[in-house]
């Protein structure tokens, strides 16, 4: 998975570097961006059902193992799924897909839905543990989702960050978040 992530970010960097835009088109895009930050819908390899798993008693940290301890929440590896799904436990077609992938030894390549720019330092630990902010504040009610979210629940813009920081009396010093 690490390789794919790396590859993606390289492609993005390359795309970013080579971006050539005509002035007018850019202004139009910019104005559009101000009102409608376009995000393509994200397809995950497995149509994971959060609702079912949470109802079955799984905690967030069972799969997003890092969120209480690091900047990152972490995404589950195939091993984590294999702990229960080495053999099918339901007749779900998505589970069948997963079991097939596991048996073939394929890695689970989850796509990261919520992204901040790489010049921003965002720590799950600081927000979720120290700030005691509910996961749902930024991620929505995951316990009601039967399929992976196609787009972020929270709009990751600096304005939104600052609004929240000001509301909660958190630091708005540039250095607190930018890196």
């Amino acid at each position: 998975m690490a390789d794919t992530v790396q590859q993606e970010s390289q492609e993005e960097n390359a795309g970013h570097r080579n971006r050539l835009l005509a002035g007018k088109a850019f202004v139009a895009a910019f104005l559009l961006a101000l009102i409608w930050p376009f995000t393509p819908s994200i397809e995950q390899p497995i149509q994971y059902n959060h609702q079912k798993h949470i109802a079955a008693g799984l905690e967030c940290s069972n799969c997003h193992t890092l969120y209480e301890n690091s900047a990152w929440a972490g995404l589950p590896t195939a091993d984590a799924c294999a702990a229960c799904h080495a053999e099918p436990v339901t007749d779900s077609s998505e589970e069948a897909k997963l079991v097939q992938m596991l048996s073939e030894g394929k890695p689970l390549e989850w796509k990261q839905v919520n992204r901040v720019p790489n010049h921003v330092y965002f720590s799950h630990k600081t927000h979720a543990v120290a700030g005691e902010i509910e996961c749902a504040t930024c991620h929505g009610k995951m316990d009601e989702r039967t399929a992976p979210p196609p787009a972020p629940f929270f709009e990751w813009s600096m304005d939104n960050c600052i609004n929240c920081h000001e509301d909660r009396n958190a630091s708005v010093d540039c250095n607190a978040c930018h890196r």
Partner: protein, 234 residues
């Protein structure tokens, strides 16, 4: 609130430049191609500058590791038109790369010449970018960059402190990469306002001096002048 500062003991410095490389590796500074390197366009947030004094045989060469001075009164901040560089409550002069418009007023204003402009797209020959530090952003062409006192390390240390319900980052919990790598332990880092810290102690040493103090920049990088040779009657 801490006031972060660095003390560099010139007596102990061996001019090995380990700090230079440590900084480049930590902060995703690209290495230039040989051609650009020969033009002197290397970026190194800390550099070791030689100061030759006198001529043979009474010659002396002093070496000065030169990072950003993180001035309390930084000339670069006042000239920045877009607030891309600023000084925070803890005294760190930061460069918000994403805000920088590349006007280079700050590189001109800085009397210590420790601000660097990205003349090129940063390039790492494959697969060198595998070693990128995910804690530090890669700066695009056209922005100014400089030493941040490895501010990302403070962000992490602070996150830990907050999570453990501590109000402040503990001494030694936050150390820039250059200080960590120093073989002769010639570099010290800590809270200058903490009267018990090693840096505040050393900053009061009779050997302590600051660079270009007369400009009123009030640097927070403090040098210790070379020591006196021991007497022979001890």
């Amino acid at each position: 609130m801490a006031r972060w500062g660095m003390v560099i003991d010139l007596d102990k410095c061996t001019a090995c430049q380990s700090c230079v490389v440590a900084c480049q590796v930590e902060n995703n500074v690209p290495s230039m191609t040989p051609e650009e390197s020969l033009k002197g366009r290397n970026i190194s947030w800390i550099k070791v500058v030689p100061f030759p004094e006198g001529s043979f045989p009474e010659a002396k060469i002093r070496f000065l590791p030169l990072p950003c001075m993180h001035c309390d009164d930084p000339p670069c901040v006042t000239v920045c038109p877009v607030d891309a560089t600023n000084i925070n409550e803890e005294g760190i002069v930061r460069q918000i790369f994403a805000r920088c418009i590349g006007c280079r007023y700050c590189t001109t204003a800085c009397p210590y010449t420790v601000r660097y402009f990205n003349w090129y797209e940063p390039i790492w020959p494959q697969p060198m970018e595998q070693a990128h530090n995910p804690d530090v952003s890669v700066r695009p062409k056209g922005v100014v960059e400089k030493c941040t006192f490895c501010h990302h390390r403070l962000q992490k240390a602070r996150a830990n402190a907050i999570a453990e319900d501590r109000a402040v980052v503990a001494p030694g919990e936050y150390t820039p990469a250059c200080v960590e790598s120093c073989g002769p332990k010639a570099m010290y880092f800590g809270d200058l306002d903490d009267p018990n810290s090693e840096v505040s102690d050393l900053s009061r040493s009779p050997r302590a001096f600051r660079l270009l103090e007369e400009l009123g920049t009030r640097p927070k990088v403090i040098y210790l002048a070379e020591g006196e040779r021991s007497g022979t009657t001890g």
